[in-house]
């Protein structure tokens, strides 16, 4: 017996799928070698491409001699810029002031601007023969000089990389609220530093791969691409190659990770598409790892000089920052060079109240591959700099790391809160995440362990990294300022076909995010079927009129929102048809677990039975009731959602070898309502480990002439399982955001918080030596130099 009120019928009969650890529908094929990645595609008469790439950073092309290559066995053609009278040029326009769009011919025409830029393309019967021939191409380059260092590139005597980019300064932007310089000048307490986050590689395990197929009879071009933004690629190449979208299909099949590196439009995509059309043969290009490290867009290369002023209680007063972003040789298409460095100054004030802020950013062209989107965009460098300043301030006043954050984080009652750069934070668990993380580490006990370990020659350190980010950004905010692409909406179409099966179609493009499962969970819960009854289709421009893809922590929020509003429209149709069939008010019809019924009656049919009545059986329903069971709705959150987290890292440094190990890692995050906790955990883990890489291992090391010195996976190191501790993730759900599902984006957070937390942990570990971390990655070599410099000074 119970006094509880009778349960809502729909609640009791309809299982909930959102929030469940549903096993992924992607897995059976991916686990058994039955996936289809672009490189797996084969076609009759297919030809293979190899590129001849520049081995100099900045040079005039004197000549490209292709005669020997053209005569080599199996070669079908050798092409240079001169062979394409209408050579497409990639250029990223923007309405942003003080911005100069660079121009990048898809094959270098007169000048090369980074090592790895394509100069010639070989087409041959197989890749081995194509590479043989590529070795026979003679490229005569006349060096133009190179200023690889971004600070030097801004000096008056620097070598200019582009005629239309005066002083190599591709963009400049200032955010200002209040009077930061004035407040800093009169403040009693302040800390300053020059932070450097080194250039890194997104390094998806699948390298960029493209297959273009042209059906000349139908004049139809299909490009299979490892891109995570097939819609963006379709729109841009349709324009450049002058093909209407209905005769040009871009498909992202299974994609082996991106992390941003496959989210821009690449010259090679244009080239294979052009060649397939010109040669009337399928054309395949699969980049090798060297090409990946030298021609895929690279990540955050920034210098942040910043000052934080605060009062005697540790309350922040003002923040001032000068940021230089090394954007490489070209402004990335379509996002522009503003994407990464501008967001550093946008997000620098972080989740804190800092009344006065001034942040200036300058983007600088240097002869290196373009930087582009990378997981976290702008925030990893911003959070690294700000969180270091916060800890430096705490050290000045003798406060613990959690206490100074507690005093400055935007409180629950203060939302919505606008920070000095203009970004608006909505309610999210800023303080709750901090408190959860802080209570998970016993700081007093840690200090004891730290003191004891030091006697054994082990330096332990504890570090916090607290941040907030905007995710699931709607059309109000361009992902990069002034960029003429709407990334803020998603259209879903959901239908029940004549067999009663459910198909949901999106313009997203999963490259590991599990969207075939999570979007199916959402549709299933809203429609009243099982997730396994729903097939999600995505990553194919033929399916949708518009859409951009999956990136920027957008697909759960915007795609999930579109799934909800579209499925609700479909459910209305289902209820109308069932109501007519049962001869009842449609509002009394319920669905659940694949059945359609009226509670407490004998009216109960399956989705296939309803489909039969609607589509095939011409007697069950009157003609006007036989409307197709299909709905398509758009969702645009207009603004974004605010996701917050605090990361805590514990490190151990061996005082003899200076080897740095992360020994413990805790994440407390608020991503709103979880669709699939397994997937959320997986995204956090993966992000954190990329953050560990950024903090300790990953560096694309360029010399003064623009040559990459870490161009293999033996030189460019990423974390293996052995460098990573067990990861402890705590999910907090404070107040759900005001969107249909209550979801917040969370795919990038791991990469945002981890570098800062580790930098602070290392700084804590070596504080007794009077040194601290101002550059990432921090390696044993760099730590040795810091100690030696300090000892030299003392």
């Amino acid at each position: 017996m119970t006094d509880a009120p009778p349960a809502d019928q729909s609640q009791t009969v309809r299982p909930k799928y959102i929030g469940k650890k549903v096993e992924r529908f992607e897995d059976p094929r991916l686990l058994t070698g039955r996936g289809l990645y672009s490189a797996d595609i084969k076609a009759d008469r297919m030809v293979h491409v190899a590129f001849v790439r520049s081995d100099q950073a900045h040079a005039r092309i004197v000549s490209v001699d292709t005669d020997d290559a053209a005569a080599a066995p199996g070669v079908i053609g050798v092409f240079t810029a001169a062979d394409f009278p209408e050579l497409p040029e990639l250029s990223a326009p923007s309405a942003m002031k003080d911005y100069h769009a660079t121009v990048c011919p898809v094959i270098a025409r007169d000048v090369v601007r980074y090592v790895g830029e394509a100069v010639a393309v070989i087409v041959a019967q197989d890749r081995y023969l194509a590479e043989d021939a590529a070795a026979l191409v003679m490229v005569d380059l006349d060096p133009l000089g190179a200023t690889a260092d971004p600070v030097a590139a801004l000096e008056p005597d620097a070598v200019a990389l582009h005629d239309n980019v005066p002083g190599n300064k591709v963009l400049e932007r200032v955010f200002e609220t209040g009077d930061a310089p004035g407040e800093i000048a009169k403040a009693q307490h302040k800390v300053s530093a020059r932070f450097r986050m080194r250039r890194k590689a997104p390094l998806a395990m699948e390298t960029r791969s493209y297959v273009a197929q042209y059906d000349s009879g139908r004049d139809q071009l299909v490009l299979h691409t490892s891109s995570n933004t097939p819609g963006v690629v379709r729109d841009e190449l349709a324009r450049l190659l002058n093909i209407p979208g209905n005769r040009f299909q871009v498909v992202s099949p299974d994609v082996g990770g991106s992390f941003g590196g496959k989210g821009s439009v690449y010259p090679e995509e244009a080239i294979v598409a052009m060649l397939a059309r010109d040669l009337e043969r399928p054309v395949k290009y699969v980049s090798d790892r060297l090409e990946d490290l030298t021609s895929t867009s690279q990540a955050f290369d920034e210098i942040v000089e910043a000052t934080l002023a605060f009062d005697k209680d540790g309350t922040f007063i003002a923040l001032d920052a000068e940021v230089i972003g090394d954007i490489g040789a070209y402004s990335i298409v379509p996002w522009t060079a503003a994407l990464e460095p501008v967001q550093v100054v946008s997000f620098l004030p972080g989740p804190y109240r800092t009344p006065h802020y001034r942040g200036r950013v300058r983007g600088v062209c240097t002869p290196k591959p373009p930087t582009g989107p990378y997981r976290g965009v702008g925030r990893p460098a911003a959070v690294f700099a700000m969180e270091r300043l916060v800890d430096m301030a705490a050290a000045t006043l003798g406060l613990e790391a959690d206490e100074i954050r507690r005093r400055n984080l935007v409180g629950p009652e203060e939302f919505p809160f606008r920070i000095g750069s203009g970004i608006r934070w909505d309610r999210s668990g800023f303080l709750e995440c901090l408190e959860d993380a802080a209570s998970s580490v016993d700081v007093a006990d840690f200090r004891k362990r730290q003191a004891e370990a030091r006697k054994r020659g082990k330096w332990l350190g504890l570090g916090f990294g607290t941040y907030a980010e905007l995710t699931g950004i709607g059309s109000r905010i361009a992902v990069a300022p002034g960029m003429p692409i709407n990334t803020g909406n998603e259209t879903a179409s959901v239908r029940v076909d004549a067999t009663g099966a459910v198909t949901a179609t999106f313009a997203t493009a999963s490259h590991g995010q599990s969207l075939e499962t999570t979007l199916a969970q959402i549709v299933a819960e809203e429609l009243g079927v099982r997730p396994s009854d729903v097939t999600v289709k995505q990553g194919d421009t033929a399916l949708t009129p518009h859409g951009t893809g999956t990136y920027a922590s957008r697909s759960a929020v915007i795609g999930g929102g579109a799934a909800i509003v579209s499925t609700r429209s479909l459910l209305k149709r289902v209820k109308e048809a069932a109501g007519a069939l049962f001869d009842v008010d449609p509002d009394t019809v319920e669905t659940g677990d694949g059945e359609i019924f009226v509670p407490e009656t004998n009216h109960r049919i399956t989705f296939p039975e309803l489909a039969q009545a609607v589509y095939s059986d011409m007697k069950a329903l009157p003609m006007e009731a036989r409307k197709p069971l299909e709905a398509q709705e758009n969702f645009d959150p207009y603004l974004g959602t605010t996701t917050a987290a605090t990361h805590v890292a514990e490190v151990e440094i061996d005082s003899e070898t200076l080897a740095i190990r992360v020994t413990r890692f805790i994440v407390a995050e608020d991503c709103g309502r979880m669709i699939n906790p397994l997937v959320v955990d997986g995204q956090v883990h993966g992000g954190v480990v990329q953050g560990i890489g950024a903090a300790l291992l990953e560096e694309l090391h360029y010399d003064d002439t623009g040559q990459l010195l870490s161009a293999t996976l033996a030189d460019y190191l990423i974390a293996t399982a052995a460098e990573v501790p067990a990861l402890d993730v705590h999910h907090l759900e404070t107040e759900l955001p005001e969107n249909p599902g209550g979801f917040r984006g969370m795919g990038e957070g791991g990469t945002i918080g981890a570098p800062a937390a580790i930098a602070n942990a290392i700084s804590d570990a070596v504080a007794h030596l009077g040194i601290e971390v101002q550059e990432l990655p921090m390696t044993p070599n760099k730590l040795f130099r810091l100690i030696a410099e300090k000892q030299g000074k003392d």
């Binding site: 490189a39 590991g512 883990h685 996976l713």
Partner: protein, 160 residues
């Protein structure tokens, strides 16, 4: 270059296929035999995505020539299980969400199938060391370690 006959047993099936001796074993499996489950991530033996079993022992197929497969017995990921009849290792990976994009996964599965037979794997750190020859960029390894822990416990009759 003159092609040669290569006779081998792949996933229990004996076959003879012609290929140039310089062709990499990874390309041979993928291009000549159509076994595209073996993935190529670096072609210099670091990432482990191309890991196969060669005469019962794991090997990097990108560091072998096709000719070296002559007379060999090879197992690729396709030989472990099928979508309808997954191998126990594959089931554990699915249960623990030990894969995201799936590109590195075939290499991990082949490595795991070996270390379950050859390594004691008493601690999770042992598992991490045993997996350290395979790179994964998506999962952060945590769920892979949990999947392997479950498999080790099953093997050892331990109830965790």
């Amino acid at each position: 270059m003159t092609a040669i006959d290569i006779t081998l047993t792949v996933n229990g099936e004996t076959m003879t296929t012609r290929a140039e001796p310089r062709m990499l074993a990874s390309d041979f499996l993928r291009e000549k035999l159509g076994l595209t489950g073996t993935h190529v991530g670096c072609e210099h033996g670091v990432c482990g995505a191309c890991t196969i079993k060669l005469n019962g022992v794991t090997a990097r197929s990108c560091l072998l020539f096709a000719g070296q497969l002559d007379g060999a017995e090879v197992t690729t990921v396709e030989g472990l299980g099928s979508p309808r009849r997954m191998h126990r290792i594959q089931e554990a990976f699915r249960k623990h969400h030990a894969l995201q994009c799936g590109f590195c996964t075939p290499g991990f599965l082949m490595t795991v199938s070996e270390i379950l037979e050859t390594e004691e794997l008493r601690t999770d750190d042992d598992i991490r060391d045993a997996l350290s020859g395979n790179l994964c960029r998506c999962t952060g390894y945590e769920h892979i370690v949990r999947a392997v822990r479950e498999l080790v416990n099953e093997r050892d009759g331990v109830t965790a």
